[in-house]
Symmetry: C2
């Protein structure tokens, strides 16, 4: 029986047949100290470009080591071109949103500042590390990019041509039926999750008036932002993304 | 302008026009000590039977108090008849699954023991408190019931007539296309989320053979159980439940 890899790592190094990958001290500590891998053990590697490879530990040391690629186990997959835009909230919930967005296959994760967002700053590096860990765990061959905090109004003013926006609107009037994603075109998209305090009236009016915005309602209940992120990405992936 | 209620409480007391609701010490502490409500303040109440009511604080004391129902603000809603079955994992993730299932409108939350489940016991009362808090927060007029831990094989052996099972199967063969929920009947359902270690071969074979089971795949990535719970409930609510 093939040695099944129990550990999956994202590395910054080319991968290919017979390619060796040197390990840094911290990686060696994790693989050999924490995970107790020995020479000959299998490990899965990806780097965002060369697909997923089964590699073997060919040298295990305390301060370093070496892996050697044996066989490609997955071709490089691209994420569907969908961004998740959300207003950062409390630390733990924000971490969850990033983890969930990465797991659900978002290409880019965009923390946005709305009128009712409290967060003035985020720790981009820490959120990026969460996205990487989620990619290792969920089997992706790419890592979602986490952006710096940006103002929603500026993003909308500078919106890229041809990108559609799924606008998750909690405050539809009772007689309104959201268009949903029926007849929505394929291609680049972004999903915008409302902040916990809701959008301001001015923001809502502006969003509703955009010709690239598709209002979608996520059911009759008020969802927390992390729940809404998963629900919205589920609807999008099932209708337009890689769940079809 | 009407006094908008900032606090929403589930109470065990009949609600109706002019009905008074006595407060226990702990509730009084929360409303008047923590939330700083004064006499005359508005509060939203529900009890799982009489819909949602706007009530006013008619007596605020340190050890108790009284609310009086003013106006019904929502009729009693029933949950769609869907159970969420999942294998308990680490404490925090289990808490999240219960919170998410309640927010996504599950009627009943069933922790199940599978062959690869580690949990021997759960704290049902603690999980029930999470479900109640989620109901207060998301605007439901009912609280999802949390069951005690039950063995999956026994639940399947004793399955209620006419209830369909959405079986979220990570391990479909490559040439298999899951049936999904196309042509699925309305009526009572349950959703089964795979445990983090997967189902055993015997469990999978048994589940696939059940004539009330509908295998559904949640995309190409490996989802954590809490993510899978939200994604599965999204698909179900959109196809058969109260999101239509």
């Amino acid at each position: 029986m093939e040695n099944a890899a129990k550990v999956r790592l994202c590395v910054e190094h080319p991968l290919g047949q017979g390619q060796t990958v040197p390990l840094e001290r911290e990686q060696a500590h994790y693989l050999f100290g924490v995970m107790r891998l020995a020479e000959g053990a299998a490990i899965a590697l990806f780097n965002g470009q060369d697909g997923e490879w089964r590699a073997e530990v060919t040298r295990a040391g305390k301060r370093g080591g070496e892996l050697t690629c044996v066989e490609q186990t997955k071709p490089q997959g691209g994420p569907a071109d969908v961004w998740l835009m959300f207003a950062p909230i409390k630390k733990t919930r924000t971490d969850f949103i990033v983890e969930k967005a990465a797991e659900m296959g978002a290409a880019r994760i965009c923390p946005v500042q709305t009128e009712f967002t409290n967060a003035e700053r985020i720790r981009r590096d820490r959120l990026q590390a969460h996205a990487l860990e989620a990619a290792e765990q969920c089997g992706n061959t790419y890592v979602a990019e986490v952006d710096d905090l940006a103002r929603l109004d500026r993003m909308l003013a500078d919106w890229p041509e041809g990108r559609q926006l799924m606008f998750c609107d909690e405050a539809l009037a009772e007689d309104e039926t959201p268009a949903g994603l029926k007849n929505a075109p394929k291609g680049p998209w972004a999903i915008l999750i409302g902040p916990e305090g809701g959008f301001s009236e001015a923001e809502r009016a502006r969003l509703r008036a955009l010709d690239f915005a598709w209002p979608v309602q996520l059911g009759p209940r008020i969802l927390r932002a992390d729940t809404a992120a998963v629900a919205a990405l589920t609807l999008w992936q099932a209708a337009l993304g890689d769940w079809q």
